[in-house]
Symmetry: C2
Amino acid sequence: MAATLAIVGATGAVGTVMIDIINSRPSVPWGDIRLIASARSAGRKIGVRGEPCVVVELTAAAFDGVDIAMFDVPDEISEQWAPVAVARGAVVVDNSAAFRMDPDVPLVVPEVNPADASVRPKGIIANPNCTTLSMMAAVGALHTEFGLTELVVASYQAASGAGRPGVDRLYAELAAVAGKGLGVRGGDIAQALAEAGLPAQSPFPAPLAMNVVPWAGSLRPDGWSSEELKVRNESRKILGIPDLKVSATCVRVPVVTAHALAV
Amino acid sequence: MAATLAIVGATGAVGTVMIDIINSRPSVPWGDIRLIASARSAGRKIGVRGEPCVVVELTAAAFDGVDIAMFDVPDEISEQWAPVAVARGAVVVDNSAAFRMDPDVPLVVPEVNPADASVRPKGIIANPNCTTLSMMAAVGALHTEFGLTELVVASYQAASGAGRPGVDRLYAELAAVAGKGLGVRGGDIAQALAEAGLPAQSPFPAPLAMNVVPWAGSLRPDGWSSEELKVRNESRKILGIPDLKVSATCVRVPVVTAHALAV
């Protein structure tokens, strides 16, 4: 019998891509597909495999009969609702940071450690943050062949890593500097943003248009950023090398959706 | 007696900054200052220390009486004219790549290996490319304290590294995508540039607006780019570690003048 799939956060940026992928791969034999989101989005209709599918509200009953629930929601929503889905019989695949470092939750990249997914005491499987994920297929293969002892990595992370507010801010900043032509130089960028009436409050700690910002996330012990520690801790767990030496430099670049890494 | 200084390439982007620095530091006791440029720019007047100074054409006679000649001109101009300046009695400080790896020319970063400047069989002192230069003060100090054995570095290089054409191209690309607002995603960038009528020919191998391009310079042996080999070879020479292991990843970012490095 084909499995019933739930997408939790179906109307979000990642949920939308998940639905696009399902629609583009009709040969994958899913059974029912259930779209779940907040009360605000419930009732919306989204096309799934050629049929309109009504989004239902996130409640315990929404998970009845679900075999696999893919979560892409904020950490605190995953933390609250993933155990509920498990209690109703689903296996949860969670894209948030809520469970990644939980020793009872496997952190899985299919190309690297697929077997880890079968041991899941809490019924939850986590996947890594996108910066770690994007290098794991390559680094994992190199580790298998040569044995990794150290990892030095620099990231080039898009504005979308800071969510919709990050993307909106970058577009607003680009619009503010674009008209300035050749006059824009260094410190002039901050001035151009102020003149365009952009609020000083921003998802980024400095202007991102025509700039690179070597800081992503919050300040953590020893001067690392939270993004840099995610790369370190998640890489160690996925590769199964608890004492791997990792030096990560996470940098925000004025790009919307691409991610790049120098390893 | 105060030294006579010549600035060769005085009307270029770097020459202009050199003059700005001289004007901002009146306490440095230069004697005469001579501005030298191509025939096209000769005759122009530029303010130096509060007086208008006439730009003279680059000829052998222009170096008569010059003690120090600072060159910021294309490689082939340096190659031809630096020896001429030396023959006329000047010490040449050259910012081009023409002499950097010449064993008879010291490659000097004042904060790292100032003593090397005093041994100059050809009368020429070279300084490194900007990507190498920007990390040498920090890396040199670390090497003195701890002894460097390997260097893994990723760059975030501005469009200005490709000269004025690079800067102009980036501004044109930003103008072409700015009006597209939230519609610009991934491959849409190339399409927006084509629709705006930008030529396919570019100083960069891919669109740079809202993108990062992990390639700077030309293809060299073993898959390195010319920029990456400059970082390797110049770092080895400046630090005096001929067999230093260096892994450089040089990346162009959509920025006009800043440079950044993750070491």
